[in-house]
């Protein structure tokens, strides 16, 4: 039981990072529902695969993938979405559906749709680690620590650096941010780039733990959305809480009801929370 809860918490860490990027983009860029989040996460997995196949350790290649994801995110926001950024938010969704479909199908064209995993490139992660009388797979522990580190870095970035403060200012009001000398469009591009990095890190961690196919992106998008809905959009505390609830739901339902029900239950939980408390459990406006 304790074992399960610990696994749920570890999984929740990844989910929190997945939700972090989604939440950042939603709060930072005028309520953009980032439909391409899952696609970005899965793309990062395939980039990581590219490095892993050339003999790099998957965990090490996260460092290579981070700049790629940032540039990609910056390009998507700066090149495409920024043209419409002051318009109707519904149109972004259509645009991002286009982006996500393009990414997903480029992956199918380049890497085929066969199931892949990153675990085989880091065989040491499968072994169990004994802490007292409980055994946890090493990859869950690694995932947890990387997730925590990511969340801390994001927190510090948003609080301390110029661009972090600019992102928060722009999310409050882009007009005032502009008056104070912040370039909103550039900030949006930075925000999306950061969101893409978070999606990428979460994606690689998921890829280290599970197998994936290009269409897994929809599941991951839903996880990101679910975390953010459970926790409340645009709040860091909410993202952590949402991730943990989600992780525990997945692990416990898989154990008690059977693996085949875990996704179904996850979606039902999201729908119920959406209906009962649309602003999330810790929801408040940024």
């Amino acid at each position: 039981m304790i074992n399960l809860i610990l696994m749920g918490i570890c999984l929740g860490g990844i989910y929190a990072v997945m939700g972090l990027g989604f939440s950042l983009i939603f709060a930072g860029i005028r309520g953009t529902m980032n439909i391409a989040h899952g696609a970005l996460a899965i793309l990062a997995c395939y980039f990581c695969l590219l490095f892993a196949e050339r003999g790099f350790d998957p965990l090490l290649s996260i460092l290579f993938v981070i700049p790629i994801m940032f540039i990609l995110g910056y390009a998507i926001q700066g090149g495409l979405v920024n043209r419409l950024v002051y318009g109707d938010p519904n149109v972004f969704v259509l645009l991002l559906i286009g982006v996500s479909v393009v990414i997903e199908n480029l992956i199918i064209v380049i890497w085929t749709a066969n199931p892949k995993t990153l675990t085989m490139f880091a065989p040491y992660t499968i072994q169990g680690i004994k802490i007292g009388d409980i055994t946890l797979p090493l990859n869950y522990i690694i995932n947890f620590f990387i997730s925590v580190a990511t969340i801390v870095v994001y927190y510090l970035f948003l609080k301390k650096t110029y661009w972090g403060i600019a992102i928060r200012a722009t999310s409050e009001s882009y007009v005032y941010a502009q008056l104070l000398g912040v370039n909103p469009k550039k900030t949006y591009a930075y925000t999306y780039g950061l969101g893409a990095i978070a999606a990428g890190i979460a994606g690689i961690l998921m890829g280290l733990t599970f197998t994936f196919v290009p269409s897994t992106s929809l599941d991951w998008l839903t996880i990101a959305f679910g975390v953010v809905v459970l926790g409340g959009l645009g709040s860091l505390r909410g993202v952590i809480a949402g991730g943990l609830i989600m992780g525990l739901t997945v692990v416990l339902s898989a154990y008690y009801l059977g693996v085949q029900y875990q996704l179904f239950l996850c979606y039902v939980v999201i729908l119920i929370v959406l209906a009962l408390r649309p602003e999330g459990i810790f929801g408040y406006r940024v």
Binding site: R83, D88, P89, I97, E172, T222, L263, Y267
Partner: protein, 319 residues
Amino acid sequence: MVGKLRIVFLIAVLALLIAIPQVFPPVWTSFLFFAFIYTSLAQIWNLQAGFTGIINLGTHGFIGFAAYMMAIAITFWGLPVWVSLLFGGAVTTLLALVVSPLIFKMRGLYLGMGTLVLALAIYSWFVQWEYTYAGRGLYISANVLPVSLYYMALVIMIVSILIVWLILKSRIGLMLKAVRDNERAAEDCGVNIFRVKLFCYTISAFITAIIGGTFYLFGSYLRPTIAFAFTWVLLPIAATVIGGLGTIGGPVIGGFLTAALNQYVLARFPGLSQLVYGVLIIMIILLVPGGLMAVISKLLKFALPSINLNQKSKANSRR
């Protein structure tokens, strides 16, 4: 004068479409079948997105659910085909009615994601439901002539266009547009947002269900990954965006165009079709926001109803 000409033209087109299966080879019927299906799907999606502001990302949920319900009625209960089709439609409408109180608590983009989560929930149910053989899929034991399916699709298309046209003519159409343009202002003017959205959503659910049932009578084999394929969301979006969001003619043009693209260009390069649609969606949104209808109306110089595509700072969008 113009009105009479238009009616004559429409009747001529209709007569042609009715005559086609008798005159032309079956390739034509199958192409037009797809075109009708895509057109009606796009029309219904456009009723939600272009006229009501519900970006429905869960079309595949209704399509798959209805197809499965129909298959259960035909294969397991032995009901007649058309009764089963209606049964699928009725159950799907019921589902839409039941979940709508949950879904319409959400506003704006939450709503779109809510519909997506709903569709994924239905999908993950059917993936593991042993009654319908879970992921292995089931055959629909129905012998329907392709010609009768062709006429069914034609009827669906005409009905969906007529419904959208009638709704837009009526008071409800005005309410829908008011909700789309500014939900809060509409509410202040006495529009019951919930009822308006519910109306639009259930009608869409019913027609989407019938479309799904008809389509899978044509295919006669169902598997969760096929029945709930994301293509069912992508196609109406692509068709509507290409043709022109928020117009009645747009989905028709878009539907026929996507069917033609599918059949004659992309069938030769499997795997590329979705990629092409993605690129088309991006390019049209960025370069020709009104879609092909905007281009045509510019060429022929007639005015289109306005839709907020690039309008700056709407009152109901966030700061």
